[in-house]
């Protein structure tokens, strides 16, 4: 069989940290990046005699996630998942087992394909271990340091149905889910900080037929890129194994990003028996209909809705580039910039492009940019007061300084529009300096348009308006 004769069957388990003010079962601050072991108390350290008290905001956020994923919000219960590990303060994790808060939902990918969501349940995070030793690997560590700041941080684990069939779908699912998590306000969805963590269950079978193959669970996927590479590798490994007459063993595998491969962590036989049982220190959690209704009513627009709004603003069908820009703008939560600029009369393609490229690249600074300021800057560009280069420079300065008056900034940066007669004089000099190129341009070598535009920009320190330069060049060519 060739690789195309096989089909991947993928299910994803996504852990997301909720951005609550305090932890799931105590009043300690829920914060990333603080000095180790400052946000701790008897409860999140698991001291003898301490007890958990459920955080209402965490329940609210978990319900938002459930509602956004079209789940049924159900009467639920917490359970203890028992296993020994030094980062686990009580040596059990309070989680939800047979009665999760959210169940039976779905997530729609941008291409319209729906992935089932089995459940989205609440649980607490563990502390964080840092292994100190020669290689940083667990096996050769000399000792380990434990930071319990993360112990008890609220998580929602979102488990998909094994509906995903391609790497592209897996990436699209994780990306879309990230957008939804951010849109609900429940999580910042940052994979790089570990606030969104993805595990993949992967199996293969002859394309389109038969029962699912034996699956492996892949852990340590810290980016969408890792997710794609790991699934690709793992499916290839399983196919090679099956084609050589072997069988796949159900096990947990660790993705080694540097080596580009998965390695066995533990087999099913070695897996923990978690001995789940109902958590006796907590009472059942059954949000009433009124609370559920408030949560559903309070949900803002989801990424798909917001993308549709931007696409509609373009007027016609978006180009591939525009589709990418729309995704970038919505992923970064920059819709308001585009809308404000469009409302101020800026052409939507320009408003989209600047937001998706210049602003989105700046991360948090971009999200903090005032929409009116953005609209004013792009207004100066679209009216010809600023060249594209100048407009980008002003945006850059605004993002760097955290705001300001774009007109003042442009003046400060010396970006006053060049008078037409000045442009004429500059052009005379440029043409004189590059007589050969000018001759070829006049004969019809359009590739030199950029050359001359660049030369004029250089001579004017970017003050010239690109469109005016192009128009002047064309008119002189005759």
């Amino acid at each position: 069989m060739s690789p195309s004769d096989w089909e991947m069957v993928i299910g994803l388990e996504v852990h997301c940290e909720l951005q609550t003010v305090t932890k799931l079962f105590c009043g300690c601050r829920n914060a990333f990046g603080d000095e180790p072991n400052v946000n701790i108390c008897p409860t999140c350290l698991g001291l003898p005699g301490s007890l958990p008290v459920l955080n209402e905001q965490a329940v609210e956020f978990a319900m938002r996630i459930g509602a956004a994923l079209h789940c049924e919000i159900r009467p639920s219960e917490f359970a203890r998942k028992n296993y020994f590990y030094p980062d686990q303060a009580k040596d059990y994790q309070i989680s939800q087992y047979d009665l999760p808060l959210n169940a039976d939902g779905w997530l729609e990918l941008p291409d319209g394909f729906r992935v089932g969501v089995t459940r989205a349940h609440m649980e607490e995070d563990t502390g964080k271990l840092t292994h100190i030793g020669a290689s940083g690997r667990i096996n050769s560590a000399l000792h380990a340091l434990v930071d319990y700041n993360r112990s008890g941080v609220p998580l929602v684990e979102i488990v998909s149905e094994p509906d995903i069939r391609t790497v592209a779908q897996a990436r699209a699912y994780a990306s879309e889910l990230r957008g939804i998590l951010v849109a609900t306000g429940a999580s910042d969805g940052r994979m790089e900080e570990g606030s969104m963590r993805v595990d993949a269950n992967v199996s293969v079978r002859p394309a389109g037929t038969g029962p699912f193959g034996t699956r492996c669970e892949i852990k340590n996927l810290n980016s969408l890129r890792s997710l794609g590479r790991a699934i690709e590798y793992e499916a290839g490994r399983q196919i090679a194994l099956l084609e050589s007459g072997g069988t796949v063993t159900q096990e947990t595998r660790h993705w080694d990003e540097a080596a580009g491969r998965t390695d066995s962590m533990r087999s099913k036989e070695e897996a923990n028996d978690y001995r789940y049982f109902p958590e006796p220190d907590l009472v059942p959690l059954a949000p009433d209909a009124a609370w559920q209704e408030r949560v559903r009513a309070g949900l803002g627009a989801m990424p798909a809705d917001r993308r549709a709004v931007l696409a509609a603003a373009l007027g016609g069908a978006p180009t591939d580039a525009e589709t990418d820009q729309i995704h970038a703008v919505v992923d970064q939560g920059l819709d308001a910039l585009v809308t404000a600029a469009a409302d101020a009369g800026v052409p939507v393609p320009l408003a989209l492009a600047r937001a998706a490229n210049e602003v989105a690249a700046q991360g948090q600074a971009g999200r903090a940019l005032d929409p009116e300021t953005y609209a004013a800057t792009l207004g100066m560009e679209s009216s010809g007061t600023l060249s594209a280069t100048q407009s980008k420079a002003v945006l850059g300065a605004l993002l760097e300084r955290g705001g300001g008056d774009p007109a003042e900034l442009a003046k400060e940066m010396g970006f006053e529009a060049l008078a037409s007669d000045t442009l004429g004089a500059v052009l005379d000099e440029v043409i004189a300096a590059h007589a050969d190129e000018w001759a070829r341009f006049v004969e019809g070598d359009d590739k030199l348009m950029g050359f001359f535009t660049g030369a004029v920009m250089k001579a004017t320190s970017g003050k010239a308006n690109g469109k005016e330069v192009a128009a002047e060049l064309r008119s002189r060519r005759g």
Binding site: G49, A144, F277, D281
Partner: protein, 472 residues
């Protein structure tokens, strides 16, 4: 020592200083506890400072609270800020909690003085206080006998007259059974009436803190101080009934008492005789007494010895040598866990961790843990049925009077049988109290148990007070 009621009255009236009361209690312990070993540690400095604070409040015209200057013995599984809390285990030897249990704060607000921490079966697992890692406690009524357990130290401290009041925890009878064996009053409240915050957990769905006292009135006085909603305990009841002290002398006229055969049959003949006499005494005081059978109680012990160890196996997992308590070093974390737990836990604790781990394991959960929970439901329903005809139930607390030190240490099943009469109330979460009622053939105290429906502590104490008043 006299009653808590009398001590508090004298202190509040300025007839005695709290400081004198505390000094006297500390002196009594120093003189007498070598024989009993009721206390694992004393808090002399903290107790004197607290007494001085009570005296200062009185001098300034402020009310120091209903337990002004009353020394209290605390079971050593109640967290005391900065003061060693061991649970009777090597595992926590020298461990100083950074916080106070909610009940410890409640005592302080009421003007009571924590005098010291008392001996107990390790992690509250046992019925004789012989499972303490720090040596057994002796029964002050007869030092060749056990005081019962697991709260044997607190029961002995009150029985010896060291303190008028004590606190224990009752998971399967650990307050009531030692109260019976030591001849004092011991009461387990309704689950959720007293905060468990700061009580080192044994079996979370069964554990409840309660009072020891020499009189029912004192027990009611202390219970009223302990009871109340605590936002730090999710299983704490949000709304709580009125205090019980005001009605403790209300009598039993017209009260329907069910003498529960299943809590009497199988007990030693002298114990059976005392329980029947107590029933007659209640009838004589105006109660309507009938015999009732609740056969489901017979399954309680088996269900308890699956549920309690299951929860304990999880609750005690945290003693892994990583963060606090004992650590026995080894080449890696997993081996360090094993070495620490092997060295830190005693035989009975290990036995119950093994039992509980097994009961929760994949493939056995339904047959053991889940089945035990179904039995628990049956026991609750049986109580409901009984309480549709009776206001309270009456039975024995323990099957025998205090037994010899060492008599049952090698026979876990015989030891477990001590809890057969007390366990049903833990499974149902209902309140129950043990009241001294005469003595057995050996001259040692017998305890009679009164059981009431959930939240009916006031009624429970009223009936108990009549039992106490009519005791021979």
């Amino acid at each position: 020592m006299t009653t808590a009621t009398a001590v508090a009255a004298a202190v509040r009236a300025g007839e005695r200083s709290a400081r004198d009361v505390v000094d006297e209690a500390l002196a009594a312990v120093a003189a007498g506890d070598g024989e009993y070993h009721a206390f694992l540690s004393l808090l002399p400095d903290e107790a004197r400072a607290a007494a001085d604070a009570v005296d200062a409040a009185l001098a300034a015209g402020r009310d120091p609270g209903p337990l002004a200057g009353v020394p209290v013995a605390l079971k050593d599984n109640l967290c005391t800020r900065g003061a060693v809390t061991t649970c009777g285990s090597r595992m926590l030897e020298g461990w100083r909690p950074p916080y106070d249990a909610t009940v410890v704060e409640a005592l302080r607000r009421a003007g009571a003085i924590a005098l010291g921490k008392t001996n107990m079966d390790e992690f509250a697992m046992g019925s004789s206080t012989e499972n303490s890692a720090f040596g057994p406690t002796r029964n002050p009524r007869d030092t060749s006998k056990v005081p019962g357990g697991s709260s044997g130290g607190s029961a002995a401290a009150v029985a010896a007259g060291f303190t008028p009041l004590g606190l224990g925890s009752d998971t399967g009878g650990s307050i009531r059974q030692p109260a019976a064996l030591c001849g004092v009053v011991g009461m387990k409240p309704t689950y959720g009436r007293v905060s468990r915050y700061g009580l080192v957990a044994f079996a979370s769905s069964l554990d409840q803190i309660g009072p020891f006292a020499t009189t029912v009135e004192d027990a009611a006085l202390l219970f009223d101080v302990l009871a109340g909603h605590d936002p730090l305990d999710s299983t704490s009841l949000p709304s709580q009934p009125e205090p019980t002290l005001a009605t403790v002398h209300g009598g039993v006229e017209g009260i329907r008492v069910g003498l529960c055969r299943d809590l009497v049959d199988g007990c030693a003949p002298d114990v059976v005789a005392r329980v029947r006499e107590a029933a007659d005494a209640l009838a004589g005081a105006g109660a309507k007494v009938e015999e009732v059978s609740v056969p489901e109680f017979g399954y309680g012990l088996s269900a308890y010895y699956l549920i309690a160890p299951a929860e304990a196996s999880s609750n005690l997992a945290r003693y892994d040598g990583v963060r606090y308590g004992l650590r026995v070093d080894a080449e890696d974390a997993a081996r360090m866990n094993t070495a620490t737990r092997t060295a830190g836990f005693g035989a009975e604790v290990k036995r119950r961790i093994m039992l509980g781990t097994y009961a929760l394991s994949a493939g056995y959960y339904d047959a053991y843990y889940a089945q035990a929970q179904r039995v628990r439901t049956l026991v609750m329903q049986a109580f409901d049925r009984a309480y549709s005809s009776y206001d309270v139930l009456l039975g024995a607390t323990a099957p025998t009077t205090a037994f010899d030190v060492g008599a049952k240490v090698d026979d876990p099943m015989a030891m477990y049988m001590n809890d057969v009469c007390t366990i049903p109330s833990n499974l149902s979460g209902h309140p129950a109290v043990s009241v001294p009622f005469g003595v057995g053939a050996d001259g040692l105290p017998v305890g009679v148990q009164v059981l009431a429906p959930a939240l009916q502590e006031a009624l429970l104490f009223r009936v108990a007070q009549v039992v106490e008043a009519t005791a021979p």
